[in-house]
């Protein structure tokens, strides 16, 4: 479980995130909605240790991880699959996946099982395991990115706009996989602009605007909220 309290973050002294409070429960699918530039990615970066928050606290399973390094945070079981994927483009699919297990490299058996799970989840990646990750299609690259995050054996997975730049049909496949991952018991924190599809699979959600939480509730509540309907669902 993640509990974020009063989290603020900035880039070069420009404040972007303002005292955000968010909770994501184990095994649930929590969605963060918000327009482009509303601070979703910044929130995630501040959680996974790539960006130092200026104020506030991030707690993961009761432990304060606000000042932990990205490596320390992945090791604790919180994985961040970033916007834009950030794969290692010249490496093979399999090497990308194996590097996902970098913090688990001491446990060969576990890594092997994790690799098998990734291939079960994404059979196409097994077929393409020898190909350079950068040569794959956008949808397949997104699968590599998700697979790589899962290789660290997380209990909570942060997914930043996995549907970005993908065709609707592929987006649907990606969402199906997210549901599958969630059903395995892995908590998911998902950022999306695609509010419709996201709310259909989510348990609860938050709406960010200009770095602040402006709405929150269960997925049902958000779906029925006139402000969400107007802004995101095109009703």
């Amino acid at each position: 479980m993640i509990t974020i309290t009063g989290l603020s973050a900035s880039y070069d002294a420009v404040d972007v995130l303002h005292a955000v409070d968010i909770t994501a429960n184990d095994g649930e699918l929590t969605v963060i909605l918000g327009a482009n530039g509303s601070g979703k990615s910044t929130l995630f970066k501040a959680m996974s240790g790539v960006l130092r928050p200026t104020a506030g606290q991030v707690e993961f399973n009761g432990e304060d991880i606000t000042r932990s390094s990205p490596a320390g945070i992945v090791k604790k079981g919180l994985a961040h699959c970033p916007e834009g994927r950030h794969l290692f483009p010249q490496m093979s699919v399999e090497k990308n996946l194996m590097l996902g297990a970098y913090v688990r490299r001491g446990d060969k058996k576990r890594v092997k099982a994790l690799l098998e799970r990734s291939y079960e989840l994404f059979p196409i990646l097994h077929e393409k395991r020898k190909q350079a990750a950068g040569s794959l299609s956008g949808g397949q690259q997104q699968m590599v990115a998700i697979g790589r995050s899962l290789m660290s054996d997380p209990t909570m997975l942060i997914l930043d706009e996995p549907s970005m730049g993908l065709a609707p049909l592929i987006t649907q496949q990606v969402f199906d996989t997210i549901v599958e991952i969630n059903k395995e018991g892995i908590g998911v924190l998902l950022a999306e602009q695609n509010a419709n599809s996201a709310l259909q699979i989510a348990t609860s959600g938050y709406v960010l605007a200009e770095g602040r939480v402006v709405l929150s509730g269960t997925a049902k509540e958000l779906q029925n909220d006139p402000r969400v309907q107007r802004a995101y669902l095109g009703v």
Binding site: V50, S69, V74, A79, H86, L87, F88, Y102, V103, R105
Partner: protein, 288 residues
């Protein structure tokens, strides 16, 4: 034909030296994103250390080179911690200025200890073998064999070991690397250590056939920069192919045209390649 085989052996030996030095430079560039302008001075220091371990300590030649490599690897870690790590959030110009500072510092230290004049290292292995009618010195054979062995070990290290994979991951995507839990400070230290060990091996191999002087790194530095630009900044295969291409062109031009043409050949090739492919042979993105 005999002359050609002879010069080909010379070219391959020189290519081995260039490769080892160029790979060190391109690794640091790939991981840390700045050119290490002290690379030539570190090469010079590697030669003096080999001289010291061989002549003053009395170690066998190969052991002396390894000892110099270990000392330089350690120096690499110290430099990373003391000079470059504190600069990690500053613009890359600051790193470059710092590398110039390191260069002047190393030259001054060597001048203080060994003097400003030339030193001659006794050739530890004498004799020649005949290969296809040409006489090739054992020293050149040692250079070629060592370079190949070191290149194979390095490839194994980069492709198979976790530290090597971490280096490649950081080169290809810093954010991706951080998110899988790779510690960039650790990788910077390992990269500097490997880079400096490689340049020490190059220097130790060349020491018996060249005179040692505090300025011996300058011309190597220039050539090696040309090689990594030719091969594509940050590219390992580029450094290898570039190293051998430049060395063989240099030796052949010097033999069949004139000594001056040898040095000119390096830059003619460089300009020709960059005119066709501005990022170098294996270069991808150059903007950082």
């Amino acid at each position: 034909m005999t002359l050609f085989v002879q010069q080909l052996a010379n070219g391959l030996a020189l290519g081995g030296i260039y490769c080892l030095a160029a790979i060190g430079l391109t690794l640091v560039f790939g991981v840390l994103g700045f050119p290490n302008l002290a690379h030539g001075a570190l090469y010079m220091l590697g030669a003096y250390l080999t001289f010291f371990f061989l002549t003053d300590v009395g170690l066998p030649y190969v052991v002396a080179i390894l000892a110099a490599a270990v000392v330089l690897a350690f120096l690499g870690v110290v430099l990373e911690r003391l000079v470059f790590h504190p600069l990690r959030n500053s613009p890359h110009t600051h790193h470059m200025i710092a590398t110039v500072g390191v260069m002047f510092f190393l030259v001054a230290v060597v001048q203080e200890i060994w003097g400003t004049g030339f030193l001659r290292m006794e050739s530890p292995v004498n004799g020649q073998v005949s290969v296809a009618g040409a006489q090739v010195s054992w020293q050149r054979i040692i250079i070629i064999v060592t370079a190949v062995v070191v290149l194979l070990l390095l490839t194994w290290f980069l492709k198979r070991s976790p530290h090597g994979q971490a280096i490649e991951a950081i080169e290809q995507d810093r954010t991706g690397a951080a998110l899988v839990g790779i510690n960039p400070s650790m990788v910077s230290m390992v990269t500097f250590a490997v880079s400096l060990a490689l340049v020490a091996i190059a220097a130790g191999l060349v020491a018996p056939i060249n005179l040692l002087s505090p300025g011996m790194g300058d011309s190597l530095s220039l050539t090696v920069f040309a090689i990594i630009i030719l091969g594509g900044l940050g590219s390992l295969p580029g450094a290898i192919i570039g190293g051998f291409t430049i060395a063989i062109a240099e030796v052949m031009a010097a033999t069949y045209i004139s000594v001056g043409a040898g040095e000119a050949a390096i830059f003619i090739i460089l300009i020709a390649v960059l005119a066709i492919k501005p990022t170098g042979i294996f270069g991808t993105v150059t903007q950082r």
